[in-house]
Amino acid sequence: MFDTTQLSLSADEEAKYLSLVRDAKLTMKPESENVKRDFINKEVVKLVESGVDKVVARQQITMSLESSELYSHQQLQFQEHGIVTVAEVLADPAKFDNCTLADPFEPDYRKDDKSLAKFFADKLIIHSFVHGRKNYYLKGAPDVTAETWQSATQVSDSIEFMLLKALPSINVAEVSISVVAINKIVSLTLWDANKGKFYSLSKENVLNAYDKPSGFKLLSKVNGRVFDAEFVREFAQKEDMTKADINTLIKGCESQLLDCLVIHNQRSSIEMRVDMFARVPRIEMQADNARIVYIHKPYLVKGDMNEEILDDYKQHFPLVDDFISFIIASRFARDRKRSFLWFLCESDWGKGFLMGVLSELNASIELSIKEVEKMFEGGPVGRSMADFKNSLALVIDEFKTVKSEVKQLQSTITISPKNQFSVSVEIFVKLFFSAESVDSLVGDAGVEDQFVNRFSIFQLSGDLTKRGVYVRHGSACYFDTVLAYVATEFNSLISQYQALGQAGAEKKAEEYINEFVSRHGMGNTFKRLSESIDDIALTFASDIYEAATSGLYDNNDLADMAVLAPGDSLYLIKPAKAYEVWVKANYGQSERVMLQKKRKDIFECLSASGEGVKRQRVDGTPRDSIRVKDEIYVRIDSEGSVVRGVFG
């Protein structure tokens, strides 16, 4: 038998092999650069002749060589369809599915053989067998703008100019100035003058900070070599340039790029977004800020799911699938005004457990109402942009009071972390957890309409920790199963939405949220305050009548302000004061604010004219007052007699 294991490479041999390849490439480099330059020029001419702008043509061809992506204007030679552009293929991929074509970069390879590559519509790739196997990815345009490409070209030209000025005989092609690397740096880096730092987005989806002295070196390391400084150094030494002059020249070349960043990419505030549909992270330079756009990374599914545990949890929390779908729909919906969900669950139901699952997945950020208030005030907070990056849900635990800031939690929030950029971040579903009702949200008088319109509610009971399956398997095992399930469902739903494209995903998400709110909206459980206005006005009126007629009313202030004028017209003088006194006497602290806001509505409902408070004569004296409409306290009884009093 033939024993392949007899042949292997020692570490020294491996190193020797790498060194041989490197040396061979160095030897071939000038020729390679010349061929590449000629190739680009030839291809640019071809595109320009077909009507493409020269800058765009050069950008697309150069980027294409580096990225293996093919862009809209590039031409493909299909066996069946002849010469077509990438844009034409992208417009109708099905037409070209499984069709063979020539290699995109070397169409004349093997005498124009148009069977060496094949297009696959499902992934929009061309698989070529020329020079081994290689995939080309079809795209509309490079992930860069014409502006950044132009800046990169200018930086490249400046470096070339500096080199030629100092070393007129240098072959610039051998310096390998990379417009692509410069373009990547210009596209992905911003300068913060206040902090004196470059911020650059890595392909790993991380925003790195570099100080100015090490900026060039590190930016080149991450994004690709900008130019071959070693070659310049060696060449300059041969030209008898002093070491100090060489260093100055190289620094000068580096400064061309850094200065471009400082001048054009200087921003002091940023927005953060996660593009669920993008393949690579990017920075969008806007007039006043920079928008950092990360890509979505699937949630990590750890461990296996235990079916018994999963069934048990679904019995305990029957709405879990609805809950997961609501979170993901809120992630894709453009309008998240109605993505508020209140968990009103008794103690030990498992609120902490559920929050723990979201937190473990890095899918939530927990804030207190105080922190939210501080964020809206623009105060420094102990939260950074990174906390929000993978967050699908904003969680508020121990929900006790609802303030106006809660309503402002819609789609974005600005945070000002200490010593960092002020950042606008997106927020999606808002989850509120409490064991008891929140009086300022739900009172005897009902729920303010603006909250009814926003909030859905889950009222759940049962003690998770006392469930037999939970006790038998232990909390850790139970948690791991739910964690794996939620992560799996998140990833699956996100994939489904992504497959719809942005517009389709937004539409589906909006439809789901509407359905969810129709099933779980607070309006299904609680009365709207607007629907209670008549009842409140009636109660108020009856108390005024009692105060005005009986003289027995407990509250003397109110008695003083209710006047039964001649003709039995009932007036309320000092109505604002009277209402305040009445609310204070009849409602708890948390409801008073809400009812005070409704004062105008109640006065209008109360008044005979429908206008609320107006200046009118009461007992002959003009006063700002309300004349209470008769029908509230006047009735005709069955015998046709007028009866005045309190009618509930």
């Binding site: 033939f2 292997s8 030897t27």
Partner: protein, 239 residues
């Protein structure tokens, strides 16, 4: 005698052999590198002579792969998109390495009698292996009445009776690196300026599911072919 197994692939939709024809006075070669529908069958041969005869008899819609299917000795092949039940895709998941492999030498200036000695310079242990060297299927194709161009030629070198099939992929990579150490490596420049690493052998052919085109080519009008040459080495390392 150690038997060796590989897979016979028969396409039901297209030919899998090379096609040569005269276009504008030039001989033009094309091949279909994709097989999306057909059948597979595990074939076992006893030695290089039997393998040579088998490969000589391949039909135009047949090719082979050096691996064997792990879903059964024979069956149907489908494309990745197909939902056909019971059929398998020709992917690495479904094909395992078997006990043979090939070295693919493209555009070589070696004569056929120099191939095994040259490979043995890189791995002397090959002297003990069962080997079949076949010139590539398009060898010696020429216009009728003219002399064939034999300046360069491609070879498929079948090595049989491999002890550790799972080691073949690693062996292929290390063999390619060792080519460089022995002076058989070079950088070539593509038409777009890319620097491509090349050595005596193609480093990408050690995958079990990959098609190996061995069937006779289809020749267009005005073309004829020399008889395909082969060399067999009988190893002596049987245990």
């Amino acid at each position: 005698m150690i038997s060796s197994s590989f897979t016979l692939l028969t396409s039901t939709t297209t030919d899998l052999n090379k096609k040569l024809s005269i276009v504008e006075g030039e001989i033009v070669k094309s091949s279909v590198a994709y097989m999306s529908k057909g059948t597979y069958e595990t074939i076992t041969v006893n030695g290089p002579e039997e393998l040579n005869v088998f490969l000589d008899n391949l039909k135009s819609n047949q090719a082979v792969s050096i691996g064997v299917c792990n879903k059964g000795a024979s069956g149907k092949i489908k494309s990745k998109k197909s939902k056909q039940k019971g059929a398998v895709c020709r992917t690495k998941d479904n094909f395992d390495p078997s006990n043979c492999f090939i070295f693919d030498l493209d555009d070589s200036d070696l004569g056929i009698d120099q191939v095994i000695p040259t490979l043995c310079e890189i791995d002397p242990n090959l002297k003990n292996a069962d080997i079949l060297v076949r010139v590539s299927s398009s060898y010696g194709v020429h216009k009728t009445g003219e002399q064939p161009n034999l300046d360069s030629c491609g070879y498929h070198v079948w090595v049989l009776g491999v002890k550790e099939p799972k080691d073949i992929a690693r062996y292929g990579k290390d063999f390619a690196k060792r080519c460089w150490l022995k002076g058989f490596g070079k950088i070539i420049i593509s038409a777009s300026g890319a620097m491509l690493e090349r050595q005596l052998i193609d480093a990408a052919v050690f995958s079990p599911e990959r098609l190996v085109f061995e069937a006779k080519p289809t020749l267009g009008d005005g073309l004829e072919q020399l008889e395909r040459l082969y060399i067999i080495q009988r190893g002596n390392c049987y245990v």
